[in-house]
């Protein structure tokens, strides 16, 4: 077997986008390299530039400057060629309303130059695989949100794209459909499908992605595996305290007096404290709270999440 030095399946170099009329860069000198076989996550709050980034890579958004290659094809210079290697699942339902579920798949195959007979059998096979066979001849209007999403995923991988782009794939799905979709994506990835996923659900990025780029204001603030990102905060415990009294004083005192506290911030009716390696933590927190004249009503601890990473990086929350 010969090993060929392959370039990453997605490469961007100093990629920028300034929308017409905007006075800021929606994507700001982005350098990205996604390897074949990864599930790569773009995690960021509203307006971070995730959709814009995916849009440039899928030829829908025209970059202002910089370069981007997908599967070795320059998407700016050869958009039509690049599209042979892209699979796209957008946030809204873009299924063809005038076709049945099966026809949606079949004509997608034909659109990508797959012959009639192979398109027919692959449509059958994908419906089977995504447990949609029962719905093959249903109108797409009859589908629930979760099912429509599954059909869109089936359609997007029909032509075996080099990269599957998914923009907020589980936004608006109920928890059960979300879990089902996660399973589908993991299975696809296990077969080698490269996936670029944008999301503002930290659990989604945490659960699914091999590597996550945390984005804000068009820039990547940190990029690593979820474990490394969480470890990089140095925090190992998040204490959430619901209390009455002067919360400003409370948060200040906790930060000063609890050993290992790195970060404290006000939340709804309480304080969130980030702590690194403290002993006897809870007793200490309660003592300090009462010394500050606050009454503790509820206390909980959690491990750091990607949210913690984001707060540490930007001082603000991921979800607003």
């Amino acid at each position: 077997m010969t090993l060929i030095a392959r370039e990453p399946v997605i490469v961007t170099e100093q990629l920028c986008k300034r929308y017409i009329g905007a006075d800021f860069l929606a994507v700001d000198h982005l350098d990205l390299a996604v390897e074949a076989g990864e599930i790569f996550g773009l995690l960021g709050p509203n307006g971070a530039g995730k959709t814009t980034t995916a849009g440039m890579l899928t030829t829908r958004v025209v970059p202002t400057s910089g370069r981007a290659r997908v599967a070795g094809v320059d998407v700016l210079a050869h958009p039509a060629l690049a599209k042979q290697f892209l699979g796209v699942v957008s946030q809204s339902n873009t299924l063809d309303r005038q076709l049945t579920v099966w026809e949606n798949l079949y004509f997608h195959g034909r659109l990508f130059g797959i012959g009639a007979a192979p398109s027919r059998s692959r449509a059958d096979e994908l419906l089977e695989r995504f447990q949609l066979t029962k719905w093959a001849h249903a109108s797409v209007y009859a589908l629930s949100g979760g099912m429509a999403q599954r059909v869109m995923v089936a359609r997007s991988i029909f032509h075996r794209p080099a990269v599957l782009f998914m923009d907020e794939p589980t936004a608006g799905l109920d928890p059960q459909s979300r879990l089902a979709l996660w399973q589908i994506l993991q299975d696809l990835n296990a077969e080698g499908q490269t996936i670029l996923l944008s999301t503002h659900y930290m659990e989604e990025a945490d659960q699914l992605c091999g590597r996550v780029a945390i984005m804000d204001h068009g820039r990547i603030l940190a990029l690593d595996t979820p474990e490394n990102l969480k470890r990089s905060t140095g925090v190992d415990t998040i204490v959430t305290l619901k209390a009455t009294g002067d919360l400003d004083v409370l948060s200040k005192n906790l930060l000063e007096r609890v050993a290992g506290a790195t970060h404290a911030r006000l939340i709804d009716q309480g304080v969130e404290l980030h702590v690194a390696g403290a002993e006897q933590l809870l007793a200490r927190v309660i003592t300090e709270a009462e010394a500050s004249g606050s009454r503790v009503q509820d206390l909980s601890v959690a491990e750091p999440s990607l949210e913690t990473v984001f707060i540490n990086l930007t001082g603000k929350e991921l979800r607003d």
Binding site: A71, A80, K83, F85, S92, T94, Q98, L111, F112
Partner: protein
């Protein structure tokens, strides 16, 4: 990383030309499939307007003694109208199959977002809609002509003379021009503004497009020596379609073909470039 089951080799890419050709074929095939699903609806919506026009003007009017077509008689009017009815059907097909569809797909269902991921240049996706609309226009012309020629009161008679060469060239040209008009309208109007489109564009075009009269008959409408109406309606693309249909199907007077052909070609070019530019703007950001 080695993933045998899912190896992608971009060296196996098809040329963009080949990929575009099969994409175009698939898009057309899709439209034919959709059309076949409700072929009845297609026929009905194609037939209804021409039928009503002929019924009212060529059947009811003569029966009740209402006269149209000053002096020259019902049959002469029928001859004029038949060609106009074919022309107007071609236009409505362009509006219906291209403009309404596209406006929906852009604004409402966002299907277009997926379709432009087809492995071809995006202008081809728009052009396919025009081609598909033009084909539907030709089919409707073929359905409508016999109706227009047959629905009339006894004694009224449309003088149909088919000029084959003119018909075989001008009908497709008119269909492409009206499909392109549909592209311009469909990429300009949001679904919620479709009412505006009908009120301010479609209605004036149909009423001032020479469907019910020949262009040279407008000469008496003038201010001083200026034939203002004759001049104003020259901007109307439907006028050339209708006059062209008169040249193709009748022996009555019409705007000279040396004018009709180039003007229709120019409208095609203008509408196509405007429509494709709109389309590109709506799709790319």
């Amino acid at each position: 990383m080695s993933h045998g089951t899912h190896a992608i080799d971009t060296r196996h890419a098809r040329s963009t030309l080949a990929a575009s050709r099969s994409a175009l074929g698939a898009l057309l095939l899709r439209d034919v499939t959709v059309l076949r699903k409700d072929v009845k609806l297609f026929v009905l919506r194609t037939v209804i307007q021409p039928f009503l026009l002929c019924f009212v003007f060529l059947f009811v009017f003569p029966k009740i003694g209402q006269s149209v077509g000053a002096g020259s008689g019902q049959s002469a009017f029928a001859t004029v109208l038949v060609a106009g009815v074919v022309g107007i059907s071609i236009m409505f097909q362009g509006v219906q199959s291209v403009a309404l569809q596209m406006s929906q797909e852009f604004g409402f269902t966002r299907e277009i977002e997926d379709r432009v991921q087809a492995p071809c240049p995006i202008w081809l996706v728009a052009l396919e809609k025009v081609i598909s609309g033009a084909i539907q226009g030709m089919v409707s012309a073929a359905i409508v002509l016999p109706i227009a020629a047959l629905v009339h009161a006894r004694g009224v008679h449309a003088n149909i003379h088919v000029h084959w060469l003119v018909m075989l060239t001008l009908v497709p040209l008119a269909c492409v021009a009206m499909g392109s008009l549909g592209l311009v309208l469909g990429t300009s109007f949001e679904p919620r503004n479709i009412g505006l489109m009908f009120g301010f564009i479609i209605l004036p075009i149909t009423f001032l497009g020479g469907t019910y009269y020949q262009w040279d008959r407008l000469a008496p409408v003038k201010i001083g020596s200026w034939h203002w109406l004759q001049t104003v309606v020259l901007v109307n693309p439907l006028l050339y379609v209708n006059e062209g249909m008169r040249a193709a199907f009748t022996n009555v007077a019409h705007i000279h073909l040396y004018v009709v052909y180039p003007v229709l070609v120019a409208f095609c070019a203008g509408f196509l470039s405007l429509g494709l530019r709109n389309f590109r703007r709506r799709v790319l950001s």
